[in-house]
């Protein structure tokens, strides 16, 4: 249980949170039209006749959008409804050409599911927690009004009209801003794994309506408010924090919470009232008579299931059990699908280049990626996606370490040069003379010289002064100008000193 509480004048308050996430389905075309969905196009250039609601135009469902919603449902272990239906949500607004949004109120395509948010002590999440998901339905997005183009008129851009959205509705299972943030992040992770939404919150591909209420521990649920269209994890957490505090203040001052829709202001981190329940639209939902019920065949469901990738929880577990990674490393590497893909290519390349099994080089690869490459990229202010070191080049570098060709410290040097020049690891090692000596004969010869030159110390060592071992290593390395493979040096020295 979350220990998050708001300290009010009258005691502690609990917060109850539910999220409705709108996620734009990744597809070439809109939910019911063939128009493109690309972000940032010139206004009104991605508009089919039906998007503009020309007379007599009809919607035809885009199978790809349906497929993505089903796959998403499967990824959260949800009930997939083989029978679902589209309803019209009627209201007038200039960004809604049809005068109704096609949505799914009565029979959504996806029913009950869940996801797990990971324990995070620092964030006040003491253990893994299951968050229930009530439903996912698909619906059309609306257009965009532009109020800054003309002194007295508003312009409308219909590019987004009809773009497919998944509305993912959680249970009110979250009890702290951190849990809500973790839920949203995890949901985003899953969507990106599945490939059903790109998760670009700054482009509006994902946005959340945040339902918040407060109560005294153990009491009935309080009246909730809904803060609309919050578009980042941080803002969601801020909105909850602010809204919960505001509700506590209102209640403690003897007031009542009004069920209402609120807006979040990212500049102040606060919420303000948009409209109350009394002003709420009567949406007059009814089944869209232009569309038949959506019946999903078993073959289609099978295809959806077979097309699902390994999902983050399963991947994390596999990294821990099969690859022997720490829970922390496994978590870091699986938190985003692109990182996981990068890591898996790196691992494959490293194994191939070094001739070893993946499990033998997995820890090395994970550690290098997390502590070396991430740090270096961070310093360069770039991302893994734009990294000048590809998984192939990284694998070559790691194989050089695994084979003992270079030392760990030399590898750091090589990486820096790779990031700088984009050159291959092997070429850099050659050029810079960073190759370490692993030839036992050569090392043995050097060691023999060192031992002969320090016969007195050998005597002392054999007499029990074992701390001198380091001295012999140091002398050998010095004689080899630092290029002796320390592991081989150690082994031979140990054998010789008995």
């Amino acid at each position: 249980m979350s220990t998050y509480r708001i300290q009010g004048a009258t005691g502690e308050w609990e917060v109850v949170i539910g999220l409705e996430v709108h996620a734009q389905v990744s597809s070439q075309a809109k939910l019911f039209s063939g128009a493109a969905t690309e972000f940032g196009a010139e206004p009104n250039t991605q508009v089919a006749l039906i998007d503009a609601a020309m007379p007599g135009m009809l919607p035809v469902p885009n199978k790809e959008c349906i497929r993505q919603a089903v796959r998403t449902g499967m990824a959260i272990n949800a009930q997939i409804n083989k029978y679902s239906r589209f309803d019209r949500k009627n209201y007038f607004y200039a960004d809604l050409p049809q005068g109704y949004q096609i949505s799914q109120l009565y029979h959504p395509i996806v029913g009950e599911g869940e996801l797990v948010i990971e324990a995070d002590e620092k964030a006040g999440i003491p253990e893994d927690k299951v968050i229930g998901i009530e439903r996912i339905h698909v619906e059309q997005d609306a257009g965009k009004l532009m109020h800054d183009q003309h002194p007295t008129m508003s312009y409308v851009d219909l590019n987004r009209v009809g773009v497919a959205l998944m509305e993912i509705v959680s249970r009110p299972d979250m009890t702290s801003p951190a849990e809500a943030g973790a839920y949203l992040s995890k949901l985003r992770t899953i969507l990106r794994y599945v490939g059903s939404c790109d998760g670009n919150m700054d482009q509006g591909s994902m946005r959340a309506d945040v339902n918040v209420s407060v109560r005294k521990p153990g009491e009935e649920l309080g009246t909730r408010t809904e803060t609309k269209n919050v578009n980042s994890v941080r803002f969601v957490m801020q909105a909850i924090e602010h809204e919960a505090m505001r509700q506590v203040d209102v209640l403690e001052a003897g007031g009542k919470i009004v069920q209402e829709t609120r807006l979040f202001d990212p500049n102040t981190g606060s919420t303000r009232s948009m409209r109350s329940k009394e002003d709420a639209h009567d949406y007059r939902y009814f089944p869209d008579p232009d569309l038949l019920p959506l019946i999903l065949e078993d073959d289609f469901l099978e295809d959806c299931r077979n097309s699902l990738p390994e999902l983050p929880d399963a991947k994390k577990a596999r990294y821990e059990t099969e690859l022997g990674l720490s829970a922390y490393n496994a978590q870091v590497l699986t938190a985003d699908v692109d990182t996981a893909r990068w890591f898996e290519r790196l691992l494959a390349e490293t194994a191939k280049a070094s001739g070893k099994a993946p499990a033998e080089v997995s820890k090395q690869a994970a550690n290098w990626l997390i502590s070396e490459l991430f740090g270096a990229l961070n310093k360069l202010g770039t991302s893994l996606e734009e990294s000048p070191v590809t998984p192939e080049k990284g694998g070559d570098l790691l194989a050089l370490i695994a084979k003992g060709t270079i030392s760990g410290s030399a590898a750091k040097q090589v990486l820096e040069i790779m990031l700088d020049t984009g050159d291959e690891a092997e070429a850099i090692v050659e050029r810079e003379g960073l190759k370490q000596e692993s030839d036992t004969g050569a090392i043995e010869a050097e060691i023999d010289k060192v031992l002969a030159a320090n016969a007195d110390k050998v005597e002392q060592y054999k007499g029990g002064k074992v701390a001198l071992f380091g001295f012999f290593v140091g002398q050998t390395m010095k004689a080899m100008k630092g290029k002796g493979n320390p592991q081989v040096v150690n082994e031979i020295l140990k054998a010789k000193l008995g």
């Binding site: 006749l49 020309m54 009809l58 919607p59 007059r284 008579p289 232009d290």
Partner: protein
């Protein structure tokens, strides 16, 4: 030389093909009739003589080259102004769409052009197809070419396809498209002595047809006789991937398979359609129809459609509900009429535009539809109506276990005078009492002219068939037609 405008679809098609006359001669003859009748009958909102000629020239050119002329080669038709026609004003007879020229062509009209038909013009109708008398058009009433014996009173051509029925009856077009939501093909056909069939829901694509009530709207042909309807329906129908409710079935060769021999067929007579106080003439005609079908070899049985009396109230919940939503798009933002009072905000613009753009009947139905879908009323009205609709469909399914087609009157009365029902929407709605059940069940249904009233006005008989069995309906229609020998036509006064 014969008057080409007396000819029907089959005769024109065959005559053009045989070289008895050219398609251009046909088009010119009908263009002339259209122009001459416009002032008196007001059947067309826009005449497009150049389109008719263009298509005719193309047909004649094809014939010269020995090419296939298509199912409707050389046949000019009237197009109900509910079908979007490329760059030709399409209004649904509403002020709110006045001047609107679609940059697309409806599937049904395109199918007809592809089959070699040409367009004489866009036909008047009840505004947004809402009406039974063609008195709700923004572009004025259509006047029926028919008159009662000894009277010059203007009669209703029926509705909503009143321009279509008047044009065919008055020889302004050999055939016309109609649409039928609750009887809008069959009732005007009955009122004007013409033949019209509403096929199974989904046979004709709704893509590009201005929507009234999506779950009911269905296009169909209106023509002089059954064969012409069969030909034109073949040209209009077909699966359309752009309409999610379109039937993915091949189009049968209805014309080729026409047969007036009903041996082995059973005709059901629904007892619930025999209502108290029914017009004696209508009852007599119905009985006559029974005799004719028996004569054609059919067995006739009584059947029961127990939920018939709920059909009209059910229809007047579902159709307005869908309409209230379908018509939300006419908001003055993107096309059509915009009324923007000085200093108006968005809400003001909506209110002013829709107040000015929609007629009274359209507003009445939007209000009814909005009401029945409102929170707190939805279950009592809309949900209940959907349940009853299912029961009505089940009535038909049960009946069709015992019979192949159903025979009933098309309308409870002959054509009424313009203005007679205009202040009484309920009695106007009653006109649809026999036609609405088949619409709710999505069944094919047809009206065939079968006789004249004592005042000399046409009366129609209706055949209702099983889903997808347009052939059964057409064949029964043909059998009636062969015996009714309906040759009456309005005396030309215009």
């Amino acid at each position: 030389m014969t008057d080409l405008t007396e000819l029907g679809v089959a005769q024109i098609r065959d005559g053009v093909k045989a070289g008895d006359f050219t398609a251009v001669e046909v088009a010119e003859a009908f263009n002339a009739n259209v122009a001459a009748a416009q002032e008196a009958l007001n059947a067309f909102i826009v005449a497009t003589p150049e389109k008719a000629l263009e298509a005719a020239q193309a047909t004649d050119a094809k014939r010269a080259k020995g090419e296939d002329l298509g199912k409707m080669g050389g046949v000019p038709i009237g197009m109900k102004d509910l079908f979007a026609t490329f760059d030709v004003q399409t209004t649904a007879a509403s002020h709110i769409l006045e001047g609107f020229k679609p940059q697309y062509e409806s599937t049904v009209s395109q199918n007809l052009w592809n089959a070699g038909a040409g367009m004489l013009g866009k036909l008047n109708l009840d505004q947004f197809a809402m009406g039974s008398s063609n008195e709700t058009s923004y572009f004025g009433n259509v006047i029926s070419p028919w008159r009662k014996q000894g009277s010059n009173a203007q009669l209703a051509p029926g509705g909503s396809s009143g321009g279509s029925s008047a044009a065919v009856a008055a020889r302004l077009a050999p055939a016309a498209t109609g649409t039928d939501t609750g009887g809008s093909i069959r009732q005007p056909a009955a009122f004007t002595g013409t033949t019209g069939i509403k096929p199974t829901y989904g046979r004709c694509s709704r893509w590009g047809v201005v929507a009234f009530a999506s779950s009911l709207d269905q296009a169909g042909p209106m023509a002089k006789d059954t064969r012409d309807c069969a030909i034109m329906l073949e040209a209009m129908a077909g699966f359309d991937p752009k309409d999610a409710t379109s039937l993915d079935l091949p189009v049968p060769n209805w014309e080729e398979l026409l047969s007036a021999d009903l041996s082995g067929k059973t005709v059901g007579i629904p007892r619930e359609y025999r209502m108290d106080g029914m017009d004696a003439e209508i009852v007599a005609l119905w009985d006559q129809g029974v005799a004719w079908l028996k004569d054609a070899g059919a067995k006739v049985i009584d059947i029961s459609l127990p939920h018939t009396k709920y059909a009209l109230p059910t229809y007047y919940i579902i159709a307005p509900a869908e309409a209230s939503s379908n018509l939300a798009r006419y908001d003055g933002v993107r096309y059509g009429l915009r009324d923007l009072p000085e200093g108006a905000n968005l809400q003001d613009m909506y209110a002013a535009t829709r107040a000015a753009g929609f007629g009274e009947e359209v507003k009445r139905r939007i209000l009814i539809g909005t009401y029945v879908l409102s929170a707190g009323f939805y279950d009592a009205y809309y949900t209940q109506a959907q349940k009853v609709r299912t029961l009505i469909s089940q009535d038909f399914q049960k009946a069709f276990e015992e019979c192949d087609v159903i025979l009933a009157p098309t309308t409870p009365t002959p054509a009424f005078a313009l203005g007679e029902n205009v202040d009484d929407p309920l009695s106007m709605y009653l006109n649809d009492v026999f036609s609405v059940p088949a619409s709710l069940a999505g069944l094919p249904a047809m009206s065939v002219p079968a006789g004249l009233s004592k005042d000399g006005l046409p009366l129609g008989l209706q055949i209702i068939g099983k889903s997808f069995d347009e052939q059964g309906v057409l064949n029964a229609g043909l059998a009636l037609e062969a015996r009714a020998q309906f040759t009456a036509k309005p005396e030309k006064w215009w």
